[in-house]
Amino acid sequence: MSDVLVGFAGMTHLGVNSAAAALAHGFSVVGYDADRDVIEALRRGDPPAVEPGLPDVLRRHASRANYTADIADLSRCDLVYIASDVPTDGSGASDLAGIRRLIEGVSGALARGAVVVVLCQVPPGFTRALALPDERLFYQVETLVFGEAVERAMHPERIILGCANPSATLPAALGEFLSAFACPILPMRYESAELAKIAINCCLVSSISVANTLAELCECLGAAWSEIAPALKLDRRIGQHAYLAPGLGIAGGNLERDLATVCKLADAHGTDAGVVRAWIANSRHRRDWALQTLHGAVLSKLEDPVIAVLGLAYKQNTHSTRNSASLALLAHLAPFRVRIFDPVVPATAIPNPRCHAASSELDACEGADALAIMTPWPQFGTLDPVQVARKLRGKLVLDPYAVLNAVACRAAGLEYHTLGFNPDGIRTEK
């Protein structure tokens, strides 16, 4: 156990998972949030975010966690992480007013010599402009992945730390805390660290865009992206963990934010962001895959069709629906009857008067003309295509993330569509 007391201001998805990692590494934690409901729920062991393993970690180390809605309680901390959400507008631009207010509040409560670490996504230049002593102010890159947040917070590949002076020795409390994670620590200028976060996301989006672009081509040529992707991952210049799964555009909010930031900075400085704008355009284009496929096969052919939709969250193992492809699809299905099921997100999230909140996956399929599996929740993969075929009135199954077995679906008589492969797309070059 360490004597270092670590504060987290903002019991957000980021804050609570980071606090869990600190607890798991033996530190005592003060978790502050102005929202009393969030604090009460945490005290009951009910975290405000859905993440595999999170409730368990919090429960195991509950004796070292103090959740509070009183900002003054942070005065006992040796270091305080700023972990609030930074909201974005429709174009992905950040609204920094909230985080500025929070930092101001935390600064007023800090003990003499305590360290502040900004952990949220902020644009380059943000940290240096804060009115806090340089030697006690840091920016740390977060690499939260929804659905894997606890694991990544506990075992980061490296820690990227923005500092006023990268060659200076770290304050003792911060040094002790970071070394507990047993990974390389990369001190760099504030601006480099802030841009490093954006650079990481740009690399991820570039891989996603490659996958989406070529998966679409696969659908026209009879090639299968699922056969190609493993070959790329064995290329050491690309790597095992590359983001090569095709998807329905970029979602979640964080990647979009960084793309918007790059475009804004490039516009301001006259640098070229054409490739980033192309990624954004490609993302928007692929988001419409389900709608276009549904339209071609069902909406333009049947009177008053019924559509079953499995999944509302933007990805599996999360409650977040930010920029969810499912919600984007459902927004355009407003004139139609829809039957919806998500293991976590309630169907009330859909403002469709003709929406039926199904009690299970198969209940959603009952009498539907088409099924769209819009979130790759693992439990959807256990569905038996034969039972699905029995429940559906039609045959169309859209499974963009290949949750179901394509061969089994086709054997069950279903008309199965997935990203990156279309058996009808096989063409020979003339």
Binding site: H285, D288, L291, Q292, H295, S300, F336
Partner: protein, 294 residues
């Protein structure tokens, strides 16, 4: 992306069609009549929009509650030169002057996909406009003129290649192929007819226009089906209708092959139940109409 000012379909009080006697105008007229929507159909014989007096005459005929569909234009077969450009701009100037004077509830401006660079193979409403000739520049300018009308909700429709029985333009595609097959039993392709294009039946254009009028839609929308076919496929579809061997002749290629595909996601989002006549069916429909007429 377009926005429906009337989320629930609502018939306009009256539709004023400018260029009503043309190929598209006639199809829209038919659609309006089928829906019992009052309309004032004006052709160049009724009102020559290029003349200076046209602005006042049109203003006198317009009501503030009208929806105006502006189709009147001198098409490239009437001239591709600067005087034709200026006449087209004068027509739009007079139309805008009249609307500015009287006001209108909705304006649908019929533009063209000529506002896009012909070399762009995949087009959506987000594709930057880049007209490559005076005809495209004319439509682009007229779009801006329409949008500059203060207080008027404007929709710009950009149709791709339109076919139908009454088309008079005889441009390369289904219409010319049908006439050539009927006349000489032969369809001549440029090269092997490898280029792909999106061909939309005029009735689909009219139906789309009606939907936009009913919802008082604003913004920009391409009028395309989302499915492209090679000219060779079009020739085969036409040939099939004649029930006898129509020779499809390939010629040495003079120009590089270009393709054009439309992303119609915005159309589907605006009208999720919209359906377009598949090319084979459309060609068959035109052929039937041709036989009935003759």
């Amino acid at each position: 992306m377009i926005i429906h000012q009337s989320p629930a379909a609502q018939k306009p009080e009256r539709v004023v069609l400018l260029g009503a006697r043309g190929f598209i105008g006639a199809a829209i007229r038919k659609e309006l009549d089928a829906q019992r929507i009052p309309r004032l159909a004006l052709s160049s014989a009724d009102l020559n929009l290029a003349e200076a007096a046209a602005a006042d005459e049109l203003a006198a005929a317009l009501r503030a509650t009208d929806a105006v569909v502006m189709l009147a234009a001198l098409t490239p077969d009437k001239g591709r030169d600067i005087p034709t450009l200026m006449k087209n701009l004068a027509m739009m100037q007079n139309t805008c002057t009249a609307i500015a004077k009287t006001g209108c509830a909705h304006m649908v401006y019929f533009s063209s996909d000529a506002v896009y660079d012909g070399a762009v193979s995949r087009v959506s409403e987000d594709t930057p406009t880049s007209p490559q000739d005076l005809y495209g520049a004319m439509h682009h300018t007229r779009e801006i003129m329409a949008r500059s009308l203060a207080g008027v909700p404007v929709l710009v429709l950009r149709p791709t290649l339109i076919y139908g029985l009454d088309d008079t333009h005889n441009s390369y595609g289904p219409n010319r192929f049908r006439r050539a097959a009927q006349k000489g039993g032969k369809i001549t392709l440029f090269g092997g007819g490898e280029e792909t294009r999106d061909h939309i039946h005029v009735d689909d254009v009219a139906a789309l226009t009606l939907r936009c009028l009913l919802h008082r839609s604003t913004g920009t929308l391409n009028a395309a089906t989302g499915t492209s076919h090679s000219f060779h496929e079009v020739a085969e579809a036409v040939s099939k209708q004649f029930g006898k061997t129509v020779e499809i002749v390939k010629t040495p290629r003079a120009n590089p092959i270009t393709h054009r595909h439309y992303d119609v996601a915005n159309t589907i989002k605006a009208f999720p139940d919209i359906r377009f006549i598949p090319l084979e069916d459309g060609v068959a429909r035109v052929h039937r109409e041709m036989l009935e007429k003759s």
